[in-house]
Symmetry: C2
Subunit: 150 residues, 2 copies
DNA sequence: GTAGAACTTGACGTTGACGTAAAGGTTTGG
DNA sequence: CCAAACCTTTACGTCAACGTCAAGTTCTAC
């Protein structure tokens, strides 16, 4: 009924995400990523989902250039969200409570979207600069070929 | 004939760019930004162009998340480029030499473009994720309003 | 059941990009 | 010309995000 659910040791998980084992332990200490389980002897065991989350963290870090605290905030929003979805499925919940949680998640998501949008806009500005420069080079190249100067 | 050419002291230049004076001295030490001149007493004097360069550096740092060494490399490309333009204007230059310099500049520019493009692509991926999430929230909101469950 | 690889928890080291304090020299307005 | 504001160099401090031992424990393959 339940899938095989591969459990990875820390080294395997780290390699799968392209980071060091130190990074995994550090992220755990910072509350960003807790391994899904442990071996009887106490070793960390990671699932594919854990690795996906790890990759996600790296994306946010590298693409957004955000520090780990900021990323932690983003993740807790997403986690919050997941629990909202769970809670939402339970029939016992009051509709008011559900709407409240939903509103919170939406606000945080909107905030994140704005940050990303701003960043993309800035990057596009740089991109435009570079394109303009490329065009100038092409011009210069043309001028060099046909020296109609005087 | 020549414009007034306002010269700023370090504090003014720093404030104009929204950074600390320490940052200016640090960038100078790292070879990223040398003031255009000095007062007789030895104080740094910056021009508007210097400030523009400073702003440019900050843009690259914040938008690209690049470290100062990388930014330094980018800047030296641009500087190289400016000197190429200067050299290119001189009539004494051989056309072969000009083409050589131009090719170098174009190669470096292309490289930079690719890096920026990749970054934008990554950001757009994140953007898409966030949009999908927003859509899901909207769905949930709808479901909450009309509980057609059984 | 044992060797060796991989893991555990400390704890100290490193690097980048500045912050900050000290001790003195320079500018500038009145 | 003089005080306040601003600047100079030098040097140590800081913070994040890990890297790197060290000393001991657990896994895995044979």
């Amino acid at each position: 009924m339940n899938e095989p659910l591969r459990l990875m040791r820390i080294g395997e998980a780290a390699e799968a995400a392209g980071v060091s084992t130190r990074t995994l332990r550090y992220y755990e200490q910072r509350g960003l990523l807790t391994p899904s389980g442990h071996s009887p002897g106490g070793e960390r065991r990671y699932t594919e989902d854990d690795v996906a989350r790890l990759v996600h963290i790296r994306e946010l870090a590298e693409l957004l250039g955000a520090d780990l605290d900021t990323i932690g905030a983003m993740l807790s929003v997403e986690d919050r969200l997941a629990s909202i979805r769970t809670e939402y499925r339970k029939p016992g919940q009051s509709a008011a409570r559900q709407l409240e949680l939903l509103a919170e998640a939406e606000a945080l998501n909107t905030d994140l979207q704005q940050r990303v949008d701003a960043r993309i806009a800035g990057m596009k500005k740089v991109q435009a600069h570079l394109r303009a420069k490329a065009a100038r080079y092409a011009d210069i190249r043309d001028t060099l070929r046909s020296p109609a100067d005087a």
